[in-house]
Each structure stands twice: as C-alpha cells, then as structure tokens.
Amino acid sequence: MEGKNSRDYTAIFFCRQIDPDENTNRRALEKQLGRAIRFFPLPCSGRIEALHFLMAVETGAEKVYLVTCPEGSCRYSQGNVRAGKRLEYARGLLREIGLSAECLEITRAPGSLPLSIDTIARGLLGLPRKVK
C-alpha cells in the first residue's frame, strides 16, 4: 500500500450520505496508512468534477475511487448518475494525455445506507476489516 514515494497514494471520493459518521470512521485507516490514503467527502457524489480527478492524479494519486450511493438512494435524485458521467469524461481527458483511464474507478456503496466508509475503503483496498 505504501507508495514508492510520498506522492503515490489512493484517493477515495465519497458521498457523505453513505456514512454520516465518516469523520470518525475514516480516522483508523488514515492513521494506519498515513499519506498513502486520502479521503475526500462530498455533499453528493454528483458534485464531483473532472478537475477533482485530474488534480488527484497530478498530485500523485495512483488510484482514484469514487464511491456513490446505491442506485435509487441519491437524495438529490440523479447525483450518483451524474457522477458516473463526470468520471467517464475525466477518463477521456486522461486517455488524451496517454494515461490509463483505469486509474479512475467508480463503485456504488453496497447494501442499504448508512455504511461505514472504513469498511467500504478496506474492501476497495483489499485490507482486513478493522477489529472492533
């Protein structure tokens, strides 16, 4: 998980509605992984912009995840749908400069909300669950 240099990290953008206690729940992973992970809570995943993805890549993110609410659960109706379109647009911009678009990945939070962002992130990173 630790990058070859301090710039390599995994960025996780996510909707705050997924985990109302995200401010607490992400601390354990942040402490465990240090600069190798960065969380970016959003008021809605639909507020993501292509620029956010590109800036994450520019600042050294090797992998960028966007976690949206499950289908039909967006409190702003289409935010999680719009998020997918923004991600695709950002992928196109990365392809334009010869980068693999696969460094950007979108995933829906599994199950019904709320869910712990810690659990979701550990799933994405392939890490064992936090021991309570």
Partner: protein, 222 residues
C-alpha cells in the same frame, strides 16, 4: 452565445511545441456557458499539460487566468502586465477573443485552443444547439422565430422539401424538420395564413463577400 469546442489535446500540445512558460487564458462569457473555455476548462487544460509534461520529464510553467470577456479590450488589458512574463498565450476564447487578444498584444504568440463553431442556445444542460448563422438580415418574424437558414438543412425559405418523416429532417434525422416547427408555431400563434407568402432569397451580401463586417455607433464611441 458563441459556442465552441476544445481542440484535441494533441493538437494543442503540438501548437505549444517547445514553449515552457505558458499563460492559459479563458473567457467567462460564451465559452464558459458551453463548457469549453471558462475557468474550469482552463484549470482542466492546465492540469493536463502539467501531467503530460511531468510524464515526459519536461519542466513547464503554466499560469491560469480567466477574463470576464476576451473580446473586450478593457478586460484584455488585465493581461498586459502579465503576458510579458510568459512565452506564449494559450487562449480558450472564441475566434474573436483570440484575435482581440492578439490585437492588444501584437508581439505575443497567441495560440487558439478552441474551435469556434456557431451562435447557439443552451437547449438543456450539456446540449448546445445552433440557432443562428449571423446572416445579417434577420427574417425570424416571417418564419415564426424558427430560422430556416440555420435550422433547415436545405435552407428553404418557402415551405418544406417534402422529404421529412415523422417530423424529422430527411438530411439529418437527428434534427426536427424546421418547416414542421415553423408550421406548428405559426399555428400556435394564429398566423397560419402567412404560409402562403412567398419570400425572396436572402440578401447574402449582408453576410459574406465583403470581408469582415463592422458595426459603428458614433453615439457609443469615446
């Protein structure tokens, strides 16, 4: 508004060539509305250029600026103290903006980063539709506010071609038949009798054939 699209990245990169100090200038009016050249798009292009340069182990310096309007000298003047610090200006303005900046900064290389297309409306979020081609002899009132020059693929002035199907244009099935729209709107506004009028061809000399058009208003001059 004037609509435009950003040029392909490779074309922009090729235009920049070996320049290392680049000032990217956007415009906050028309091209911002069509998501081609506003502040966000300036930031996106700047980030792409920096990422690309880093991958090629090339050092570049990119500054971002967005003017309210790139076609008005009072706004372009904001570039004057900044431009000399950079080797080139990459303009995300429309064709008028690029040329206006070039007029103000005659010794600076200005590179266009957009392909200016037309005069358009925002039909819905993310969709910009050509509505006007600037013919200089507007007859929208005759055609129920639907321009046959722009919206009829054949530019017909006196009724439909007869090739439309289900209200869609024969030449471009993605588009509605302009004459269907005209007829519908004449009917909706109680003016169907005007369909019998015969209109002469447009006076194309108002649009082309004489070099750049100019409008002068003495009462507006300094």
């Amino acid at each position: 508004m004037i609509s435009a699209e950003r040029k392909p990245f490779e074309e922009i990169k090729s235009s920049i060539g070996r320049y290392k100090k680049i000032l990217i200038v956007g415009c906050g009016t028309c091209v911002a509305e069509c998501a081609a050249g506003g502040e966000k798009e300036v930031a996106l292009l700047a980030t792409q250029l920096r990422i690309d340069a880093a991958r090629r182990r090339r050092k570049i310096e990119v500054k971002e600026m967005t003017l309210d309007r790139q076609c008005v000298y009072e706004f372009i003047d904001q570039l004057t103290p900044v431009a000399e610090q950079y080797e080139v200006i990459l303009s995300l303005g429309c064709g008028a903006g690029v040329q206006a900046v070039a007029e103000v900064l005659p010794r600076t290389h200005i590179i266009p980063a957009l392909n200016t297309t037309t005069i358009a409306e925002t039909r819905e979020a993310g969709v910009w539709l050509e509505d006007c081609r600037g013919c200089g002899d507007c007859k929208l009132d005759y055609f129920a506010d639907i321009c046959p020059i722009t919206r009829c693929a054949k530019g017909l002035f006196n009724g439909p071609c007869g090739g439309s199907k289900d209200g869609r244009c024969e030449a471009d099935p993605d588009s509605p038949c302009a004459w269907q729209l005209i007829l519908d709107r004449l009917s909706a506004t109680g003016r169907t009798e005007s369909i019998d009028e015969v209109y002469p061809p447009a006076n194309w000399s108002k649009m082309q054939g004489k070099g750049p058009r100019k409008i002068i208003r003495e009462d507006q001059r300094a």
